[in-house]
Symmetry: C2
């Protein structure tokens, strides 16, 4: 890994953000607003980023897609649990992260994130690893959508070894799990972290393949479902289920929780929050309803492909 | 502290819950629903409770008031940071906790909690301490309300020493603070924990005085504001500010966070969540508006009495 390598990753990520927001704006009809930000000198984390956000669109009620690049003089302990030799090393991290909350309850919410971290221990070579993934959270489940999403993820990973999809699919199921509800966040997808086993070039290529699979994995589902008629019942259930999204992100998501507690940029981190969410006590789920089917059939760890 | 002492605390707390829910139901016109629950054998925490909840009332959109009593064979490390001699001791905890979310944005959200913890170290006398407090979170600020709320808290603590109100007022300001926003949750109130310095009888009396001050502190404000006309603008701001309530409770509140991560009863813990909350990116606050005044004048650490 060298300076040109880092620039190549940065350039890929900035282009990725543009490609995704352009495509989504095209579907919605409303453009994203881009907010370029920079951490003030003296703040614990130094860095800058571009937060792109589309709010109250036709298809998307809130869609955020952020690029950020941060530098720190010391890797935080949470990042070096498995790599004690890097404790306290200077580091650089960059990534693209997105969460899209559609208006129509038949269109699932989606999350995608790709990231790279490079650290330079006091004595030794720079170390670099990649992470990423995507996962889908439907309010009303469709087999076709789940199969398509997982198949696209699987196909993207296939050139990097047959073991990747099953490993990362399981990792995703384990990560996007609300322990306090004993519920999966959605139908899963893929998730990986701390990845360097293919070397810099091939690991970067794998992260890129995952990132490039995002639009083909998600857009056909949006197109298929965005005009489905719905009423107050479906809207109500969507708002209630969005409460679970809030719970996961604020209680369990390591990036969110760590970011908020350690001086990350709050408004960029919380662009993952839904535009509107509701809570009610022990909400009844009618037997045999599509809402019950979501819990029974879709919020379960299943092999979709 | 003896068995009769524990029964006296339990009896006080159950009666408190009844008095508060009766008074609030009287104001609202809709009764609370009581849900008696018990943890299943084999779960990490043993215990039972009564969750009382009023949803979609006339005055309160969501109001939860819970009593719970739990027993454990080992105090968790988070509870014994300041008392290493109690690490791993069997314990019993009970309390009443409430959060009321009114419908009218001119009526503030309120939180009150009183609790007792008793632990028995392997060699030694049982140790018992009390905690509690209340705090007010307005959407639109009124000096009169803030002064009344704080004065009632101060009066309740006066018989227990002049130092109590200033100490507990400051503790409240420090606790109900959203570090990731650099914002206070509301106008504060009082908060204390780990309290035993007056001995069992007087400490229990102090906790009771705080609990008994809740209705006189809050109800006059509800009566004063509940018929204030409001429109979409105020409702919208209320939903946005409720998002902050969610952020505080899920990210920073030790009870909520610890409870959810350690096997507490999720639906009872999360009765503090608002019925509906919204998020938007860098929402503009018009200069000179009442919304700006909330931030500048009320979400600040101030001496109200």
């Amino acid at each position: 890994m060298s300076m040109p390598d880092l620039l190549a990753v940065r350039s890929f990520l900035l282009d990725l953000q543009q490609r995704i927001t352009s495509a989504i704006a095209g579907v919605d009809g409303q453009p994203f607003v881009a907010d370029h930000w920079q951490k003030a000198p003296g703040e614990p984390l130094q860095g800058s980023g571009i937060t792109q956000i589309l709010e109250q669109g036709q298809v998307f009620e809130r869609a955020g897609c952020g690029f950020s690049q941060v530098r720190g003089s010391k890797l935080p302990p949470s990042a070096t649990q498995h790599r004690p030799e890097l404790a306290g090393a200077p580091f650089e991290a960059m990534g693209v992260s997105l969460v899209f909350h559609p208006r129509n309850p038949y269109v699932p919410t989606v999350h995608m994130n790709v990231r790279m971290l490079a650290a330079t221990p006091a004595s030794g070579e720079p170390v670099c690893w990649f992470g990423g993934g995507m996962d889908l959270t439907p309010y009303y489940g469709f087999d076709d959508d789940a199969v398509h999403f997982h198949q696209t993820c699987k196909d993207a990973l296939a050139p990097f070894g047959d073991d990747k999809y099953p490993r990362f699919k399981q990792w995703c199921d384990e990560y996007f799990y609300l322990k306090h509800r004993d519920e999966q966040r959605g139908i899963g997808g893929i998730f990986f972290d701390d990845f360097q086993e293919l070397g810099f070039e091939r690991s970067f290529a794998m992260m890129s393949a995952v990132a490039n699979a995002f639009l083909p994995a998600y857009l056909p589902i949006v197109e298929r479902r965005k005009a489905t008629p719905y009423g107050e019942r479906e809207r109500d259930f969507q708002l209630y289920r969005r409460g679970r999204y809030v719970e996961f992100n604020l209680v369990w998501d390591r990036g969110t929780h760590f970011g908020l507690q350690s001086g990350g940029r709050t408004e960029s981190i919380l662009m993952s929050m839904p535009p509107l969410a509701s809570w009610s006590y022990q909400r009844p789920i009618p037997a045999g309803s599509p809402e019950e089917q979501l819990y029974k059939t879709f919020l379960a760890r299943r092999d979709w492909v």
